[in-house]
């Protein structure tokens, strides 16, 4: 049992190390900016996740205490990683793309990052704004 747990912890750590490395390596290897954004947002979460799992398991198995609070870290990462990615993508769209270089925005005119104050004004007058959102 002990060996199994040990193995599990070790495996998690190795996996975490690999994913962590891949996330950062992708940042260097991938050749376009939007693609580079994929690597860390995914790989590192599992990298960190692996470490956290290993840590929980290790504590439970070898340090004689049960540890859940690593879950908090995971929670925060899951909550924040998409927002971070969203913002960096917006930076990319803002700096590298134009309205023309982007795909159609469904039924709408364009993407939010390319929204100018004039557009906003036009929209504001189109609908009467409610008091609270």
């Amino acid at each position: 049992m002990e060996t199994l747990l040990e193995f599990l912890v070790a495996a998690l750590l190795v996996m975490a190390g690999i994913f962590g490395f891949v996330g950062s390596y992708g940042l260097i290897k991938l050749n376009d900016q939007m693609s580079r954004l994929h690597a860390p947002t995914k790989a590192t979460t599992l990298g960190v996740g692996g470490v956290l799992l290993a840590s929980m398991l290790h504590a439970a198995a070898f340090e004689k205490y049960v540890s859940y609070h690593e879950l908090m870290i995971t929670l925060f990462l899951f909550l924040t990683a998409p927002v971070t990615a969203n913002f960096i993508a917006k930076v990319h769209i803002h700096r590298q793309e134009t309205r023309a270089s982007m795909p159609e925005a469904g039924g709408d005119d364009h993407w939010a990052t390319h929204d100018t104050p004039e557009d906003e004004e036009r929209r504001q007058t189109a609908h009467t704004p409610p008091a609270e959102d």
Partner: protein, 89 residues
């Protein structure tokens, strides 16, 4: 076994950290820099948790959690700065 695995993970994340730093310094565009810094935060969290695991101590958990929570804030601040100039408007 755990020790070697941990050393391996240490090396991976440390290497990752240095690669991130390299990217922060050399990236052609500011978006990549912010991304690299954000990745650095995440690798740092991993390193810290690993270190706690290696020492068998919980003492580093809070620091890791705080980085997870706050690293995001500075990343967003940098990005907002580029997008809008005003980070609070």
């Amino acid at each position: 076994m755990i020790a070697s695995a941990a050393t391996f993970a240490f090396a991976c994340f440390a290497l990752a950290l240095l690669m991130n730093l390299w990217k922060v310094v050399t990236a052609p565009d500011v978006a990549d820099r912010i991304l690299a810094l954000d990745t650095m935060f995440i690798n740092a969290i991993a390193l810290m948790v690993l270190y706690g695991l290696a020492l068998g101590s919980e003492i580093f958990f809070e620091a890791a959690m705080i980085i997870a929570m706050l690293g995001f804030v500075s990343t967003v601040a940098y990005a907002r700065f580029i997008l809008r100039g005003n980070i609070i408007e």
